[in-house]
């Protein structure tokens, strides 16, 4: 028993994650629209780095908003963005993570939209962002289709991707929505199911409106947005792309979640077995694959979207292990 596991290596992209697929596309559009400056929000910093890179290559100015807490846990990416010529602005309000960085980016955009483009990095925000980000990211799924056919002469049985806002997931799922392939999104279960301890929006959220879209949202009974927690800064967001909310409701995609601890385990296992260090975000999908692959029938196959590389997370992981007095 057990499935063959394949990795879609988005971590090998320039800048180290799938984010570049979207930033280059949007930056080219912005340039064509005559905009001279890019604004981005970032959690883990992967989107910030990819935006800064697109800005550098196209000769545009770039400002990236990042939560103070995320700047601390993703220092490497802060340094990379600055090297690429971007201005990184620290957001020390509210949760000090992606949600408040997004608020700040919107505030900037409200006053500077005449010459700036807000380059949203996930499949969230007002129309047309969720659609546009999905279309740019769906190159991932199209490549999987083609490459998998070359390898096995058919389609995979399962595809797994982590879901925060959901850009890498919608990118790999979208070209398979009409195919006989089981699609599974993996959310961040954090430290547990109590409010404020996780970011499993699709599992625990309700309908709500944030950042210009109606989707599922982690909120209290009065419509105040809840704090979230995840070991991975890139999944640490109380909302989720509206198309994921739709796919969950229609039942086409299943959404599950794994805890911080399981994600760390996925991170370590993949590093150890394959010599590939995954981003903590992607490690959530790896962790769920480790759980489910042995249970699948012989001959089945499973593709994990390895959305990013994990160099940026090594400090955070070692801190986590030290706190638990575990030594590698």
């Amino acid at each position: 028993m057990g499935a063959r596991i394949y990795l879609k290596r988005e971590d090998l992209n320039h800048t180290g994650s799938h984010k570049i697929n979207n930033t280059l596309g949007q930056a080219l559009l912005a340039k064509r629209m005559g905009k001279e400056r890019l604004i981005a929000e970032t959690g883990a910093g992967q989107h910030g780095v990819a935006t800064a890179t697109a800005a550098a290559v196209l000769g545009m100015k770039c400002t990236v908003y990042m939560g103070a807490r995320d700047m601390q846990r993703q220092r490497l990416n802060v340094f990379r963005m600055r090297m690429l010529g971007a201005e990184v602005k620290e957001v020390s309000k509210g949760s000090q993570t992606l949600k408040d960085a997004t608020n700040e980016a919107f505030r900037d955009f409200i006053q500077s939209f005449e010459y700036s483009h807000m380059l949203i990095g996930s499949a969230v925000g007002p129309h047309p962002y969720p659609m546009m980000v999905r279309d740019f990211q769906s190159v991932i799924g199209r490549e999987v289709k083609e490459q998998f056919k070359n390898l096995e002469g058919r389609l995979p049985s399962y595809i797994l991707a982590c879901v925060g806002g959901g850009s890498n997931a919608i990118g790999i799922f979208y070209p398979f929505l009409k195919e006989e392939v089981k699609l599974i999104g993996v959310e961040a279960g954090g430290r547990g199911i109590s409010p404020g301890e996780h970011c499993a929006t699709l599992a625990k959220g309700d309908d709500g409106i944030l950042h210009g879209a109606l989707s599922r949202l982690l909120q209290d009974e009065n419509g105040q947005i809840l704090d979230t927690h995840s070991i991975s800064a890139g999944l640490d967001y109380p909302g989720v792309g509206p198309e994921h909310a739709y796919l969950r409701e229609s039942g086409r995609v299943s959404y599950v979640n794994v805890s911080d601890e399981e994600a760390i385990n996925g991170f370590l296992k993949l590093s150890e077995y394959e010599g590939i260090i995954p981003a903590l975000e992607s490690a959530h999908a790896v962790a769920y694959a480790i759980k489910m692959a042995p249970e699948l029938p012989t001959g089945s196959s499973l593709v994990i979207n390895l959305s990013g590389r994990g160099d940026k997370d090594t400090e955070e992981v070692s801190r986590y292990l030290e706190e638990r007095q575990e030594v590698l």
Partner: protein, 267 residues
């Protein structure tokens, strides 16, 4: 006719701007907030815009955002805001407009919200994160829905706001969020005149009013002036001396009231 419309009409006939105060509900604390509101009315405030603290106040700048976050940290929310509105209504006569972001309304359910808001004596609503295109969802409940425009609004948007036939249009005076630095005076005047050519709806100017001087400057261009961050600044300055705060609020509005009078004897 709602008393918001009546106030606007009254001041149009008087040819001077109505004064609207924005104050965040229940802060610094419930009783002190109520005392401040009463003092504003004494000072000449005509309409009260009561804010409901929200965790993600996208349209607000640093100053007002701080109040939102202080409020949400104390567990304040729409339900508490509505209860407070009832208290306000019981102790003053100003028409009441509720300023709230959309998610809390959506969460409560529009039918339930509108019913409770009306019962609390609220007559108008400002929902800064609901675009003009979607404003229709709030219609049909007998509530005055106040549309917003900004200097960057295109003529098409101006016409959309005009078609709402609202009690007034809230004209934001800055490119950006509340409390930001103003545009040059002439640019604001041009903007108000541009909106004016498209609509007979009264225009309220707000988002960057920093004192009596500006009320005087724009008194002939706007039908109302909204003062928010200016009051927030006074609250932050005096909240350590809470017994002095209501008096300061009254004083601020007495000065604004004076500034709206025509000091040159003609229009």
């Amino acid at each position: 006719m709602s008393s918001i419309r009546k106030q606007m009409l009254h001041y149009q006939q008087e040819q001077k701007p109505a004064l609207i105060a924005f104050i965040m509900g229940l802060l610094p604390n419930e009783d002190l907030c109520l005392d401040c509101i009463k003092a504003l009315e004494q000072g000449g405030c005509d309409i009260l815009e009561l804010g409901v603290p929200f965790t993600d106040p996208l349209a607000d700048g640093e100053m007002i955002e701080r109040f939102h976050h202080r409020g949400t940290k104390q567990g304040l929310n729409l339900k508490r805001g509505l209860e407070f509105a009832q208290r306000v209504k019981n102790s003053c006569n100003m028409p009441l407009i509720l300023f709230t972001y959309y998610n809390p309304l959506y969460r409560m359910g529009l039918d339930k919200f509108m019913q409770e808001a009306r019962a609390a004596g609220i007559e108008g609503l400002i929902v800064p994160d609901l675009p003009l295109d979607e404003m229709y969802v709030l219609k049909g409940y007998g509530m005055e829905i106040i549309p917003m425009l900004a200097p960057s609004s295109t003529d098409e948007r101006v016409q959309m706001a005009a078609q709402q036939q609202a009690a007034f249009i809230y004209c934001v005076s800055v490119r950006g969020v509340t409390g930001m630095r103003n545009l040059p005076e002439q640019e604001i005047k041009d903007y108000l005149q541009r909106v004016r050519t498209d609509t007979r709806t009264p225009l309220a100017l707000g988002f960057g009013i920093s004192g009596p001087q500006q009320v005087e400057t724009f008194r002939d261009y706007a039908n109302a002036v909204v003062v928010g961050s200016y009051l927030a600044r006074i609250i932050e300055e005096y909240e350590a001396l809470p017994w002095l705060l209501p008096g300061q609020m009254e004083k601020a509005f007495l000065e604004l009231s004076k500034a709206r009078e025509d000091q040159h004897g003609s229009i």
